[in-house]
Amino acid sequence: MDTGVVSEVEVWTRACANDGRAFTSLFDTHRDRVFRHVLRLVDNAHDAEEVTSASFLELWRRRASVVLVSDSVLPWLLVTAGHIARNVSRGTRRYRALFDSLPRADAAVDAEQIAFAHFEDDESLGYLKAAMKMLRPADASLVVLVVLEDYAVTEAATLLGLSDGAARTRLHRAKGKIRQQLTEART
């Protein structure tokens, strides 16, 4: 029976066949989820917007090697955004000219948002950001996918090219490091 619901696999397939509407529908679907994730990793909304945008541009540029997890590109986007966020200036360098040429909302509004973000930024979130940056990229990606985004360890391992056992061990150690970092930071 045709339910009329188009799976993301089908949308992704169409996008890879140069269907712009299919690709932009992926942007519409996952933009906010990726943006909220990146906000946990960078210092302001401006950087988060650029990291999020760079992730989607990379999704297209590296479409031949993208791995779908649970029939979705979202895990790939989250991991890629995490890598870019570890060094925003380097990660967005390829698209610097493009981003600088694109229009933005009133700068005063953006500054207000940034000010609010810093003012209301929870102290523990700052500790978490520091702890995440301390982890190796693959370990940080594991924490993001499994702990923060509720993907199964097996799914995250597939995306990161790790064995199931190795992923579980690395995740356990990563959690321990974060726990230790948070404990030390609060004492």
Partner: protein, 115 residues
């Protein structure tokens, strides 16, 4: 806590850019402009500029020389052997590319697709 939203104007611009890149009619662009297949040899720092013949400030300003205006961002790739250099979407008004190759070690390179 006040929710921070994605700048809607920036988002729309990025969305348009994605749409343009995905739907770019590849067949209208000569193959060699997008893919420079470089044969044997070791090279590094191949920088490619997309330019047009428009006037204004040019990169080559010697008297009598063509005036070249850079319309797109330069792409720098380091590779050994055969490599495909992705140039992205073609900027409006672009009429050609400028390629610069710097060899790290002795070798040769060929443009097999250029006629």
């Amino acid at each position: 806590m006040k929710q921070i939203d994605f700048d809607p104007i920036f988002s729309a611009a990025v969305r348009n850019e994605l749409d343009a890149r995905v739907t770019a009619p590849m067949t209208h662009i000569p193959f060699w402009r997008r893919h420079l297949r470089l044969g044997a040899g070791i090279f590094a720092g191949a920088s490619i500029l997309i330019g047009g013949a428009a006037a204004a400030a040019g990169l080559l300003t010697m008297p009598g020389a063509n005036e070249v205006t850079e319309l797109g961002a330069s792409v720098v790739e380091t590779a050994t052997g055969t490599a495909a250099v992705q140039l992205g979407a073609v900027p409006d008004g672009a009429t050609g590319i400028l390629v610069s190759l710097t060899c790290l070690t002795p070798g040769t390179f060929t443009f097999g697709d250029v006629r």
